[in-house]
């Protein structure tokens, strides 16, 4: 047993130790055990084969079948545990990302208050500094609200209050709110829709959050000058919105993780982004709970288009 313990402490299973996984939850350990079982089975099939030496085909088939079964089982088992490990890792990362996100507006408020307390601020600068405190405060409130949304979604208790909503007007309002920010980043936002676009049946506050998140992402991931085109069209069942940007795109290898909680694209460090990776997770939950679908098309270096549909108000 001592030998086993010492052996185990080697590199072989360090990754599991990092995630605080016990041996039987650890994929590499299970693979190790599977390997041993495999060898044991091979040996016993050889011994069995000796009894059927006049029918070597049976033996061969037996061996292949057993190996195949073991391989399939171990593969599915390790897949399952891999997911567990990843989920655990994301949870820890979330706490550290969220607290990091909170630290920035907290520092901003602290230092602004330092300056105001010192009394060396000129009267005409006062309004600016108070504005900075307000901004930091709003940021923290948004973060907390996002976290609450996420936890409600997890518990299946998302709060939706759907009613007749004019999607064109809703999006136009959001574009107006973003206009200063977009202009500062050299980005033009345009929207087009037919005159006869029907109203949708959805919660305008929650859908606003979705649209805000999509436009915000589009702006954040456009390097330098760019444009965002929003178009609305409908069929007899639903209205479809497309938000197309000329941004940096999402690398193909990461596209399947995009809607996952806390996931942020690899180019996070390289492109200025402030976010917790919760926006798209929330967006997907809201859209789907509202009876719609959300998806995207993206090419690295060319840009991304996000689509979502919402049911028409009947």
């Amino acid at each position: 047993m001592e030998v086993k313990k010492n052996l185990a402490k080697l590199h072989l299973f360090r990754e599991c130790a990092d995630y605080n996984l016990g041996f039987w939850e650890c994929p590499s350990f299970i693979f190790f055990v599977m390997g041993l079982i495999n060898i044991a089975v091979m040996v016993s099939t050889y011994l069995i084969a000796n009894r059927f030496t006049d029918q070597p085909e049976i033996v061969a088939i037996l061996v292949i079948a057993v190996t195949a079964i073991i391989f399939i089982i171990s593969h599915t088992v390790t897949q399952g545990f891999d997911k567990l490990a990843q989920a655990n890792k994301m949870k820890t990362e979330f706490v550290s990302i969220a607290s990091h996100q909170l630290r920035t507006p907290l520092s901003a408020m602290r230092w602004t208050l330092n300056l105001l307390n010192d009394g060396r601020i000129k009267a005409e600068e006062l309004a600016d500094y108070l504005g900075l405190i307000k901004e930091s405060n709003e940021r923290m409130i948004k973060l907390v609200n996002d976290l609450l949304d996420v936890s409600r979604i997890e518990m299946g208790k998302i709060l939706l209050n759907p009613r007749q909503t004019n999607l064109y007007v809703l999006i136009q309002k959001i574009i107006n709110n973003f206009s200063a920010y977009a202009k500062a980043n050299n980005i033009v936002i345009a929207i087009e829709a037919s005159e006869t676009l029907p109203n949708v049946f959805a919660d305008p506050e929650k859908i606003s959050l979705v649209v805000q998140n999509l436009i915000d992402n589009a702006i954040k991931y456009i390097k330098g000058k760019g444009e965002i085109k929003i178009s609305l069209e409908s069929n007899n069942k639903s209205v479809k919105a497309a938000i197309k940007d000329t941004g940096v795109g999402i690398p193909a290898s990461q596209q399947k993780f995009i809607f996952q909680k806390f996931f942020r694209s690899d180019n996070v460090m390289k492109h200025q982004t402030i976010g917790t990776g919760l926006g798209l997770f929330i967006a997907k939950s809201v859209v789907e709970e509202s009876g719609g679908k959300i998806w995207f098309e993206s090419q690295e270096g060319k840009g991304t288009t996000f689509y979502f549909t919402l049911p028409i108000y009947q």
């Binding site: 990091h100 907290l106 602290r110 230092w111 060396r120 900075l132 901004e135 930091s136 460090m269």
Partner: protein, 121 residues
């Protein structure tokens, strides 16, 4: 007049820090991303650099590494000013040549100013 380069992408942090340092009669220059930070360090050759770690384009660690490799900039003291606080990050920054590592959220402006004064006497 001594000059300080602040490499920080958060506008509010950059504004308040700059204001506080100017009140102490330092000349303050600002860079909003890692690339700009390196460029300005080479051009301006400040007496001190206050460097954030999470930056657009090139992150703070890379900036620090480059600064300490180049003849012209390696002698400039660098105080890392960040909200990252894991022991690995601290170790890495210090190993790359940072003079001090300060976690922004734990300090008032006046504490940072004190550290600045200590570093460029």
């Amino acid at each position: 007049m001594k000059s300080i380069l602040i490499v920080e992408d958060e506008p509010t942090l950059q504004k308040t820090l700059s204001a506080a340092l100017r009140q102490e009669d330092y000349e303050v220059k600002n860079a909003l991303d890692g690339e700009e930070g390196l460029k300005m360090a080479r051009e301006v050759k400040p007496n001190l650099i206050l460097l954030d770690l999470i930056l657009p384009k090139i992150d703070g660690f890379e900036v620090l590494d480059e600064l300490k490799k180049e003849e012209e900039t390696k002698a400039i003291p660098v105080i890392v000013l960040t909200n990252l606080e894991s022991p690995q990050d601290i170790e890495r920054a210090l190993a790359l040549g940072a003079t001090t590592y300060l976690v922004k959220a734990n300090y008032d402006l006046k504490d940072i100013i004190e550290k600045v004064k200590e570093t460029i006497k």
